[in-house]
Amino acid sequence: MLELTEIYKTFNPGTINEKKALCGVSLNMREGDFVTVIGGNGAGKSTMLNAIAGVWPVDSGSIVIDGENVTGLPDFKRARLIGRVFQDPMTGTAATMQIEENLALAKRRGKKRGLRWEVTPAERDEYRERLKILNLGLEDRLTAKVGLLSGGQRQALTLLMATLQRPKLLLLDEHTAALDPKTAEKVLDATERIVTEHNLTTMMITHNMKDAIAHGNRLIMMYEGRIIYDVSGEEKKNLKVSQLLQKFEQASGEEFANDRMMLG
């Protein structure tokens, strides 16, 4: 479903701020794979996700989604294949627009937008049904402005928007990191439910190793722009946080002392 081949990306090349963010990342995801991505700060996790989403062009390498080479397409043209949830709950929704208007925007992801009405009564019923799965009572507030919602509610709504049109690939960029633990748990539950229900091919970045182990069927660890550890199946199921830490030390040759890569 997703094929990354030898992806390289350097930011600010030739300047004092030069940063080799991705150094030959290759990855193959099969349909229905749920991959969790871990790694320290600056390891290249978000950069890899942004490369897949098409936020900027890569320096070299190719990105193929569902058999289609999208390397030369900007993000808004890849949007028909990809659903995205961002780290910042403010990023994924339009605050001054209503809940149903936001959903209607997502409903037309990758489709031609013309002069038909944005929200039709039939769609409204559909949105109400879909919102129920979030368990947040949003189904009764279709015409409320999204700016009135809490961060957790907005993130849950973004998740629903990303999956309203079944995406070929769902990208979650630490989408629970900015939420309080209880809300994060709820959003993660909703994620698990939606991904399972629609059998979505999913990539989820997380800083929480327990979450990385508990969710998905495959786990990859990144370090300095490379994938240094890739585990799936039974081996991943039986993984322990302590083993992950050990792997990290082995691969990076460093004492593990990253403050943000917490045990959770």
């Binding site: 403010m90 339009a94 992801r109 937008r113 013309g114 038909r116 944005e118």
Partner: protein
């Protein structure tokens, strides 16, 4: 002083109000264009100073050439559409900041407008010779036509922003990141918004030229500030009248109301025998004050000096 007040005639003021309303309706249409860029797209577009004159120039020259005034105004709108698209392309394709792109277009339009008017700064069009859409000589008729057009444009805009395309435009102004993730080409939306806005401004310019009976190369100077004044006055009044019930349709409606109120104040200032050249300064002050109000209100609730005072008061209490 007494002589000054004695020279003011209240009946005269009332007599001038209808003209103020007519002009306010015409400029209200322009303000609706400014609303699209300033509020919906979140861009301060300065090309309108140029496109307003362009609309006036195109309309008057075409009418002088024998064209039907309504058709001439539509042509003016098309000219504004193109000028707005130029600003949009300067911004999105060449990476020029939106505000500078607008200034460049506006600057270039000064020459373009002179060319349209055969290198004359002023071209008259007489209501006696041509069947103009509106004229300052028949104010009641101008109010009727202006009112109908204003209502029609408000309803059309409201409908447009309820469509898929209109929603994509609103989303682009509200959250570009999210819009891209939903597959919206935000550059196309920006060009579309700027083109639409300037088309309306040029249309209004064509109407204003007929109302005054001439097209002037400087008629659009400061149009952006008057447009902003109308938008902001309309918002303040709208929120005061309707409060939380002020929806999008109401907001558009009150933009036109803002234009009318602006021209009523303008009429009052003239009646007070204040030099009309000072009006630009007053307008700028009004806009600055109204733009500052939301910020200052926020500051009053949360600022360092307030926090400092609170802390000091607490210290005394101990």
């Amino acid at each position: 002083m007494a002589a000054y007040f004695a020279s003011l005639n209240p009946a005269n003021l009332l007599g001038r109000f209808p003209a103020g309303i007519a002009q306010g309706l015409i400029w209200g249409l322009m303000a609706l264009g400014v609303y699209i860029t300033f509020r919906v797209l979140d861009v301060a577009d300065l090309s309108v100073d140029g496109t307003f004159s362009t609309g006036a120039a195109v309309t008057v020259m075409l009418i002088l050439g024998g064209m039907n005034p309504w058709v001439a105004m539509l042509c003016a709108a098309c000219a504004g559409l193109i000028a707005g698209a130029v600003t949009g392309l300067l911004h999105t394709k060449l990476g020029i900041p939106a505000i500078l792109a607008g200034i460049l277009t506006q600057y270039a339009l000064y020459s373009v407008n002179l060319m349209i008017m055969h290198m004359k700064a002023n071209q008259a069009v007489s209501v006696d010779k041509y069947a103009l859409v509106v004229s300052g000589r028949n104010v009641n008729h101008a109010i009727l036509i202006g009112g109908i057009l204003a209502i029609a444009v408000v309803l059309l805009l409201y409908a447009f922003f309820g469509t898929e395309l209109g929603s994509a435009l609103r989303a682009t102004g509200c959250n570009p990141e999210m819009s891209k993730a939903q597959g919206i080409n935000i550059n196309v939306m920006k060009v579309l918004g700027l083109a639409l806005s300037n088309a309306m401004v040029a249309f209004s310019g064509g109407m204003a030229a007929q109302y005054s009976g001439f097209a002037d190369v400087n008629s659009g100077r400061g149009a952006i500030v008057i447009g902003l004044a109308a938008v902001i006055i309309g918002e303040v009044i709208g929120e005061a009248v309707l409060g939380k019930r002020l929806n999008f349709l109401g907001r558009l409606f009150f933009v036109v109301v803002g234009g009318i109120l602006y021209y009523l104040v303008y009429t009052l200032v003239l009646w007070l025998k204040i030099d009309s050249n000072l009006m630009k300064m007053f307008t700028a002050i009004i806009v600055a004050v109204f733009l500052a109000v939301p910020y200052l209100r926020g500051q009053a609730q949360s600022s360092f000096s307030r926090a400092g005072k609170m802390a000091a008061r607490r210290g005394e209490g101990k």
